[in-house]
Symmetry: C2
Subunit: 233 residues, 2 copies
Amino acid sequence: MVEQYKQQQPYLLALDSIIFGFDGESLKVLLVKRGLEEQTWSLMGGWLQPNESLEQAAARILFDLTGLTNVYLEQLYAFGEPHRDPIVRTISVAYFSLVKVADYESKISERFQARWFSIYDLPPLLFDHGDMVDLAIKRLRYKAAQHPIGFELLPEKFTLPQLKKLYDAIYNTDFDKRNFSRKILSTNLLIKLDEKQKGFSRKGAFYYQVDSAKYQQLTSSFLNFIPNSDTIL
Amino acid sequence: MVEQYKQQQPYLLALDSIIFGFDGESLKVLLVKRGLEEQTWSLMGGWLQPNESLEQAAARILFDLTGLTNVYLEQLYAFGEPHRDPIVRTISVAYFSLVKVADYESKISERFQARWFSIYDLPPLLFDHGDMVDLAIKRLRYKAAQHPIGFELLPEKFTLPQLKKLYDAIYNTDFDKRNFSRKILSTNLLIKLDEKQKGFSRKGAFYYQVDSAKYQQLTSSFLNFIPNSDTIL
DNA sequence: TCAAAAGTGTTATGTTTACACCCATGG
DNA sequence: CCATGGGTGTAAACATAACACTTTTGA
């Protein structure tokens, strides 16, 4: 019975995280210089432990680097080319996550050399981590066009101009602000606050926040930006 | 250096395939009764071999059951709950594939008890295979709304009524045939043949085939059926 | 000749795009 | 008072949805 299992070759199983952040200007990915390869930037990663699920492992690894919990985390793809890690064959399940940069800044771990890189200006990456990032960007674009996940990258309170800048950054374009706000507001997912952002512009922009009740139930289609995208979806 | 690797626990790595087929009436999944669990229907699956990539392994396993090559195959998700396989911890990377039932019928392997089941009438499945099928259905719906993959489930030559029946089956609905054919034909992806289908209806429906040149390059949005769907995408 | 499926067109409604001016405020 | 960014409306083009009748032909 169990013979069938015993004959099989086991493999190392790693998790790698593409951690996205938005600093108000451009879409960033958090990279580290870790252990073995001091020379090369790589994604934050780690090993699956015997008692945890893939998602738990990805969350734990993310927590180790950022100190953040309750972060948006989604499985991206399993990478398993035989020699992707040249030392020992390793299967890596990549996750991508969306973090609020402000939350992170204060808690940044000193244990890692970590830096945010613009997605349009990435250094060479370890192994197939470059492919992982490319795929994650496609997936983020695909997903953000259909599901209201962009908010995960912004602070609790944000202005419409900030939100537009985020979408501009994600899609590397410049949306029309009139059409943009009409489209966003038509989802009824945002609550306008009385408070205005001060200090950035003279006039000040109203803050909004996500209507979390609606946000929870919202699974179906949301916006429809979908630009050209040949995602794995 | 390599110490870091040696301390890590390796895991068995399996592949499971959700094989979709369309018999002209309803959308089917191919299930087997295999080895250990003679009582329970399960997805076709197998183990990753040391020399092959995940996708190669999935293709090999699919070939073993169906004899088919050059089949549409897409990675679905990695399943890794600690006790999903109660005997030995196993990570399974699920793939879904779209096959032409007619091609399969003739080559069906005798080595497996295999049967097509309607997606609306599935038996209880081994382990978490039910979750895999559910997710695969969602993914197929999501994907088929945006990418012209439906054709993978039909013969080379097919009629518009057949294609509509396929989409009706995928989305469990009844599209308006006028709107449907307008929408499909507006993609310019189909070539109308001179030949009519005989024997099924009195009048006979024209055959079409995919314009494969256009099919190749077509990666961007295609149709826009997208019904409610909370896919992992 | 008639039953059964194939094929086709129009209108109304909603969505998307393109586009430009006034507003509020701090300096 | 003026420069800067915030905020809003409208019309044209396009896409979608709803809907019914005519055509073909084998039995």
